[in-house]
């Protein structure tokens, strides 16, 4: 993709998705919601939300990287 294509794509995106302007204030006071969140019981640690599949996938990726170091740039590219 050359610079001309890049500019064309940028213009297309800008036409499809205009910037958010002006209305950048919440409709309501968020402090009561904030207090509610602060007083709520602590949520579970993020890691506790991991499904077994996430763990298996992580182990597979580490194993793949260890066995085939050449795949590391490819993995990083898709992260």
């Amino acid at each position: 993709m050359n610079a001309e294509d890049l500019d064309r794509m940028k213009k297309l995106v800008q036409q499809a998705l205009p910037p958010m302007e002006g209305d950048d204030e919440p409709d309501r006071d968020l402090w009561p919601a904030m207090l509610g969140r602060l007083n709520a019981p602590p949520a579970a640690e993020p890691l506790a939300g991991w499904a077994w599949f996430d763990g298996a996938l992580a182990v597979s990726l580490v194993a793949l990287a260890a066995c085939f170091p050449a795949s590391i740039p490819v993995l990083l590219y898709y992260l």
Partner: protein, 185 residues
């Protein structure tokens, strides 16, 4: 007795239970609008932005001990807000509701068939919503919102070169997606 923002920041950083809550509320009231506006630019949905503003300040509250007053609150809050928005994007499948523009109701220039232009814009908005969240955030802030790349880099915690790369990859993926739909930008 009134204390300045630096005093509030120091009290927030110290985390003394007697003064932390008051300092946090002061910071919340001072910065909620900026944080909300930043998140709104990323998620483009007011109610989600409100929800994520609360989430962001909750993360700020729990991380008060890691705050460095010398680095400033705004940039720190913005990084946390960006992270919260990114986490939210990761949990969502690409949906039309993220991009109301995808309804095809945008005004089209009179120089071409308005229906076709509206259709292309709608498909572009949908394809944009299908981009990987990391690329989508970079492209949203740098291309849609036209923010300086340095500002985007600071919010994402990456280098300016990495922002350029993410934007390039986002636009290339978008172009390929549109080509598969028979649209040649």
């Amino acid at each position: 007795m009134q204390i300045g923002e630096s005093g509030v920041l120091n009290r927030f950083r110290e985390g003394n239970p007697e003064t932390l809550e008051a300092a946090f509320e002061a910071l919340f009231r001072l910065h909620q609008r900026a944080v909300y506006g930043w998140i709104l630019r990323i998620v483009r949905n007011p109610s989600t932005a409100e929800e994520l503003t609360v989430e962001t300040f909750w993360r700020i509250h729990t991380a008060h001990a890691r705050f460095e007053p010398a680095q400033g609150f705004e940039g720190w809050a913005r990084r946390i807000a960006t992270r919260a928005a990114l986490d939210w994007l990761h949990t969502r499948r690409p949906e039309c509701e993220l991009y109301p523009e995808a309804s095809g109701e945008l005004a089209a220039p009179a120089t071409a068939d308005p229906a076709i232009i509206a259709e292309i814009r709608a498909r572009t908005a949908l394809a944009f919503g299908r981009l990987p969240p990391k690329l989508r955030i970079a492209a949203t802030l740098a291309v849609v919102e036209e923010l300086p790349q340095k500002e985007v880099a600071a919010a994402l915690g990456i280098s300016v070169a990495a922002v350029k790369l993410r934007v390039f990859r986002a636009l290339r993926l978008l172009r390929n997606d549109l080509k598969r739909q028979g649209i040649t930008p």
